[in-house]
Amino acid sequence: MGLSIMEGNEAIARAAIHAGCRFFAGYPITPATTIYQNMLRFLPPLGGICLQGEDEIASIGFCLGAAMSGQKAMTATSGPGISLYSENISFAIGSEIPLVIVNVQRLGPSTGSATRGADGDVQFMQWGNSGGMPVIVLAPVDVRDCYELTVWAFNLAERYRCPVFLAANKEIAMTRESIDLAKVKLPDLESRRYCDENKPFAPFEIEQGRKAPDFLPIGGSRLVRQTSSTHGEDGYITVDTETIARTQARLLEKLTSTVDDFTFFEADLQKNAKTLILAYGVTSRAAKHAVKVLRQRGQAVSLLILKTLWPVPQRLLKEQLACVDRVVVVEMNLGQYVREIERLCENTQVVFIGQMNGELISPQQIMEVV
């Protein structure tokens, strides 16, 4: 047993291969480029496909075509690319196309700073597409999370047939870090359920008790229809308001009702602590450090590191927030996820620490407030 060293982006690429991803398309953009470059190293020799699109729209378009042809597909970009993905993300949500989207966040707005980190797209990933349906967003803290959560991202994309974001940050994705690969805990791999051979197939038919329709690939022996238009079970445009309402409700419910099954977090709770520090992504590392020092100084403080950001894991949050008088939300932006916390707090005071200057929030900054 020993240690390996790799940046978060390499871990994401290696994990994708492990998860069975055999199709990647992307457009180079700092700080996500090395995911593409690693996939280009890994995929073609395995018989997989790695393409460089003429732009981000083409890249995600390739992925959607491949995903509907049966592939586990992934794309990776940063904020400016997510903007260009937007319309196709709505498509993947509404038409239930499994896809893993890595957003290696950099400092925005707009082209912003290519080589500076931030967590400025946290609301954008959820709401930056038309229709207002939920998406899954997982936020890694370190290189090990990059590995584990990427595999989870594929599992969830397959299970619920939806796009899943990995909300990385330049500070994790391009920081090299040692990792004990033997200690990485990977889930069993999941794949979308195929329609039984003996059953008639309608591309959007939902079996009782199931969250997502059974799948058959475009190019298989039975005909498959996919469409970005509002559709019925048969995959044709529908104007039937009942069908439309039922589908919309299901798209909402399939993720919001199941989020407890994929709420990833780390809780380091201290009895009698009146303050809870809540952080996600790279900022959690400074928070951990701060908690250690504060406790050495005799201060009781709890820490909650959230790794599933969307849908908001309300049950977990409400439980934890009810135990303290004060929650200190720390994030690398000027106040985004704190909105979700505020709406969940009844009697708990919410304190916010944010920064958007391209630098990490330091343990010192957190300690000063706590």
């Binding site: 020993g2 083409a58 319309e87 196709n88 090299r176 870090e177 040692s178 190019g219 022996s221």
Partner: protein, 437 residues
């Protein structure tokens, strides 16, 4: 002959719409080739032509405006045996221009039928990239300012190996489509037709006039001789089959006891070309041979051949938490660019910080202990200073030992490069040790 028309969903275009003719010709082309529905994927764009996929019993994919070629490309790469037919109007052609050009250049085995009726039918007859300047359309005077584009000329210039211009009214349309379908590579047919719903009311256009106008343009009747080459997917698979699998991540075994127990930070300051990032990585590996966890953060301008190069390395046995630098125990200063980049930090360094400085490099005022090394005097090349500085670090026994450093080099390098690196480190270690004694 099989018929792939979807009996449950007959075409529902305006009376007299040219799309009806193309549907029949396309079905005939499928039939003449003996294709079954599962052999075909119809990928449609937005607009009236976006309905095409629903009229056939084939695999179907209907997506966003202008992006049909991107989905078709993904499908074809994933399912190489499938016949992928993309339909789009002159609207899709305009909004998806980048994809059209790229697909021509890529030469993937997909057939694109451009249903060219010189306006946006579905949204009310606005001008498109193919609207004549003298046409009356719903875009007011705007179409009088921009000449129409000849998609056939554009496609050929962009590298399409098969480009044909057809009229929806020509007798052999099915044959023309079939020729495009069987071409192994990207094929595009620019099919001219009328849109009675929106366009021809104000712009009378007969099949005869279409033929006449087509005749005024340069001919496009199939093979583009200068663009013949291997199809993208086949080429891709051929090249990929010869590639070697990427190696697994290197694993560094713990071979030594660590030099320290707590968190340690090292800051490397240099300039482009000094191999600062490589030295940072070797330092990490060296620490890892002592069982330490490590992180490395690099900072260099996008113009990689110029300016500063800074690497920040943090060690911690339990795993590194905060990856920022708080209080480095060692600073390696090899170039003014790097020193400048972090000059505000120097005031914070305390007396326990050791700075390994290349002779001649000016440092801002600070309380740190400075070790100056005259690399030039030892005839060490500038590109090797960073590695040599690690040997100095090993001599000081602050973070790593010389054994760790040597072990790290064997993890990172092979052959001649390794031999040279080991020699460099070893010689310097000796020289520098001697100097110290």
């Amino acid at each position: 002959m099989t018929n792939l028309l979807n009996k449950k969903r007959p075409p529902a275009f305006c009376a007299g719409c040219a799309h009806d003719r193309v549907i029949l010709a396309l079905d005939q082309a499928f039939g003449d080739q003996g294709l079954a529905g599962e052999d075909i994927a119809m990928v449609s764009d937005i607009g009236c032509s976006g309905l095409f996929d629903t009229f056939f019993n084939t695999h179907a994919f209907h997506g966003l405006h202008g992006r049909a070629l991107t989905y078709g490309t993904g499908i074809k790469m994933a399912q190489p045996e499938l016949n992928v037919v993309v339909t789009m109007g002159d609207g899709g052609l305009g909004i998806g221009g980048a994809h059209v050009l790229s697909t021509c250049r890529r030469n993937i085995d997909v057939t694109l039928l451009v249903l060219n009726n010189f306006n946006y039918g579905m949204t009310g007859g606005q001008c498109s990239v193919t609207t004549p300047m003298d046409a009356q359309v719903s875009s007011g005077f705007l179409n009088r300012l921009e000449p129409p584009m000849d998609i056939c000329m554009v496609a050929a210039a962009a590298g399409a190996p098969y480009v044909a211009r057809c009229s929806a009214y020509q007798k052999d349309l099915a044959l023309q489509i079939q020729k495009a379908l069987t071409y192994k590579g990207f094929s595009l047919i620019d099919i001219w037709g009328v849109c009675p719903g929106r366009y021809t009311k104000r712009n009378p256009l007969t099949p005869g006039q279409i033929k006449e106008r087509m005749g005024e343009l340069p001919a496009a009747d199939g093979l583009v001789t200068q663009n013949q080459r291997m199809e993208y997917g086949s080429h891709y698979r051929k090249v990929a089959s010869g590639l070697e699998q990427a190696p697994d991540a290197v694993c560094v075994e713990r071979s030594f006891d660590p030099v320290f127990e707590d968190r340690r930070e090292v800051l490397l300051l240099g300039s482009a070309g000094q191999r600062i990032v490589t030295a940072g990585e070797i330092l990490c590996l060296a620490g890892m041979t002592g069982g330490m966890h490590a992180t490395q953060k690099n900072d260099y301008p996008i113009t990689v051949l110029r300016g500063h190069s800074v690497s920040e390395v943090v060690f911690d046995k339990e795993g590194v938490g905060y990856t920022g630098l708080d209080n480095p125990c060692v600073v390696i200063a090899l170039a003014p660019e790097g020193v400048n980049r972090r000059k505000s930090k120097f005031a914070e360094f305390d007396k326990d910080t050791v700075i390994i400085r290349a002779a001649g490099i000016e440092l801002p005022d600070c309380r740190a202990r400075v070790i100056t090394v005259d690399f030039k005097a030892h005839k060490i090349k500038k590109t090797d200073w960073a590695l040599a500085a690690l040997a100095v670090l090993a001599r000081e026994n602050i973070v790593i030992t010389i054994d760790m450093l040597e072990k790290a080099l064997t993890c990172r390098f092979k052959g001649d490069v390794l031999a040279a690196a080991l020699k460099l480190v070893h010689t310097n270690f000796k020289i520098l040790q001697k100097r110290q004694n």
